[in-house]
Amino acid sequence: MLATNRLRRLLAVLFAFALLAGACSGGDSSDSSETGTSDTAETDSDDSSEADDAPTEGADTSADGSDAVTAEDETVEVIEGGTIRIGLQTEAGSLNPTNTGLNRGPIMLATAVFDTLVVVDKDGQWHNNLSESWTPNDDFSSWDVTMREGIVFSDGATMDAAAVVKTIEAFLADPLTSLVFKPAFSPETPVELVDDMTFRLNASGPNAALPYYFAEQLGMIGSPAWLDARDENPELDQMPIGAGPYMIAERVQDQKTVLERNPNYWGEPGNLDTIEFYPISQDSTRTDQFLAGDLEIIHGTDAESILRLREEGDITRIEDNSGEEFMLLMNAQVPPFDDIRVREAATAAFPKAQYADFIDEGTALEADSLFSVDTPWNVPAIQQVDDQPELAGPLVASYCADVPDQCTDGKVNIEYQHDGPSLALDRIATLVGDAYSEFFNIEVQVIPNDQHINEVIFGQYQMATWRYHGFSDPDVDTAFFTCSTIGALSINWSRNCNEERDALIAQQRATEDFDERYAIWTQIQENLRDSFQYITVSHTNWMVSSSTSVGGVCDATAPDGAELPCQTRGVIWLPQLFLTN
């Protein structure tokens, strides 16, 4: 029985993980390839803002970036209570953050159910949320976290340090979900209890950015009783219990999840009585339902919906280009991409202009690095050398001269894979195949999503489409390109190890100072570009659209009053939402 449960739990993890990675690869109908904006990216907080600053672009002339905010302040009547319906791009196999990689859809739901230890404000600065204070030691290698008094889970249990430690341990014990976060913690005792309300986090080295890890899924704290119960009954993964402003009232997977206000909430209670979530993976359907008035809020990334919604007058739109990149992975451990010349040639031959024309159609920003202009980490001078096929010729010729058995007719033989069936990915493959045909004998493989992920994780691929999550602080991202995460099973998907880069990563962790970190991150970005780790294609544009009957989208604040972003990669805050006329 125990074995069964453990296995079931593990299965849940795996498949949830597969889903997460699936989104990474842009595999399903709501895939990244069609996402992103380019020209709407200008924003008031452009130069100074943090990752999550989200400009709004009202369609009608009166509504501009500050539309939602002004509306609530002056002219809009706030209705107490009520219900809104939100259409999500993805559904989760499990809503248990300790065993599942949660996608952007489910994470919106989970955030409302759990709350996180810290939250990140408009400028990218973290603030205490469930936690009371964070005290690092001298070199930031160890942090003492004190919890806020008086927080209870929705099942009535008190949230103390022990409860938090239990969740974090459960999370880090999960072999797959923890992959991204684990490298930041000490392998021996990542977390230990100090007293009733305080616990200590031990990092793998000095890490001033450690609190940011707890603005993500890792910071979602579940009720200990629930965590125990779900070990016996995996179906409880669908009915999580946390200390957030809302709790799950009803859930039919793949159809509907209803949240209702948590009466025991420690902070200011939510305005709305209930919030209904509908997972609608078909982008056009979700958009249709929203425009037909069947949903009050939707989020999405596909070009067609974005173009349609931009034409609509009576809605409020918020676009966010700050995170998630669509990219091509090149496996640096197997021929031919083990040779930097081939990686460089593939990058140079990449048809980015055609991609912009035919795929994004002006809905997303083309990417030169992992950081869009909407993030503070963007370095305008860093440009990826792509769309210059003339550079590819000599590189391929020189490689084929050295390694003739990887070439046929003077072209490098490569395998390009994406998961499918996916029309958008097919179209991308068409573009890439055509552009590469001069230098590569490209064989396109469309394989099922889980197999695609499997092959990428185990390095059994040459070139693959992928979607890369940006986190609220780039340090969380480093797991994707540090040497330490390369193994049989590797989340450094490209398996591209560079010790100089690892040294830089360690260096930026040692300081809290933004300017210092920015300088180091400039070097890291140059390093990534020059080692041809990825071909970055575009920055996903997450668009959140809400009907005019919904107010307060941009009004969320941290407990200390700091303004929170309107949306972060498609996720909005829920407790401050209200209905209006």
Partner: protein, 317 residues
């Protein structure tokens, strides 16, 4: 009674054979362990997953002989336990019971549409056999048979939802009316080949029925044409149509995969496609078994209906 007994035995044998084939294909052609565990089924995943692999083999009895596993699976299924989905650990039976009604509605909808359209059409053409409207109808119905469902869905969607904007572009199950309205194009896509098939068969049978003496008798009774067609000629002419009604159910199931996937209708057709793409065995197997059972049972009912249509047919004959 003997006839019914023989047919039931035959049905059971067919279902057993189909399940054996499906289960066998899944187990011999695919890799069950990979389908269960995904990435970590791979030996390369490292020693930390070895224990999990062993557990999975034990949990799913992968080391048992095939026939033992098959028997176990069949036994579970007989009790309504279709296992849990690999995707999200929910009971497959729950998913099926959520989705099956939608598919059944779609299929019944399509059949009702085809019968409602094909019968009057066939009556109309048969009563004007070999004259111009009949000849035109023959060409039209032959053409309707030539359009594959996957082309039909696009064509009808383009005409009905995009160009003329008469029908919604999405499935809507808010109310029964909205559901039927939004299911019209999907059902019509399934119905068009059926309409043509039924019309052709029924027309041929009607033409020969209309030459029967009892039709002349009905005419001599002074009954009006419509009454003769509907009340006298129709029922004895339904045999061929009924025979293919059963066979067409199979085509309808195939078509529902296309239609549900294209129109985004959350039925079992869409479910099985999703499950196949995900290698979600328990769902695929469950759907295959259910669909087969439906198919076999429909054909059985068709046989029973013969005796209703023609009292001369004796079930035990």
């Amino acid at each position: 009674m003997k006839f019914i007994a023989t047919r039931i035995v035959q049905m059971v044998l067919v279902v057993l054979a189909v399940t054996l084939l499906a289960f066998g294909a899944m187990n011999f052609l695919g890799d069950p362990l990979f389908n269960i565990l995904g990435p970590i089924a791979n030996e390369d995943a490292g020693p930390e997953f070895a224990e999990v692999r062993a557990e999975a083999r034990a949990e799913y009895h992968l080391d048992d002989p095939f026939i033992v596993r098959y028997g176990r699976w069949l036994g579970d299924m007989a009790t309504g336990d279709f296992g849990r989905s690999f995707k999200n650990q929910t009971q497959v039976s729950t998913e099926i019971s959520n989705r099956l009604p939608i598919t059944l509605i779609l299929m019944v909808y399509a059949q009702v549409l085809s019968v409602l359209i094909s019968i009057p059409w066939a009556l109309w053409t048969a009563s004007r056999a070999y004259r111009l409207p009949d000849k035109v109808s023959t060409v039209v119905s032959f053409g309707m048979l030539g359009v594959p469902v996957f082309a039909l869905v696009v064509l009808l969607f383009w005409l009905g939802a995009v160009r003329w904007e008469i029908f919604p572009t999405r499935y809507d199950d808010e109310t029964i009316g909205a559901r039927l309205y939004s299911m019209f194009l999907p059902a019509l896509s399934l119905a068009i080949p059926l309409i043509a098939t039924y019309q052709r068969l029924l027309r041929t049978d009607l033409i020969s029925t209309l030459q029967e003496d009892f039709i002349a008798v009905a005419r001599a009774k002074g009954l009006p044409q419509w009454r003769i067609l509907f009340r006298h000629a129709l029922r004895p002419s339904l045999f061929s149509m009924l025979t293919v009604f059963g066979i067409q159910t199979g085509a309808l199931i195939g078509g529902s995969l296309v239609v549900e996937s294209y129109f985004g209708i959350p039925g079992i057709g869409a479910a099985v496609i999703e499950a196949i793409i995900r290698d979600d065995f328990p769902v695929v197997l469950a759907v295959v078994v259910i669909i087969t059972v439906i198919f076999v049972v429909v054909n059985f009912i068709v046989d029973l209906l013969y005796s209703f249509l023609d009292p001369r047919v004796r079930l035990d004959g």
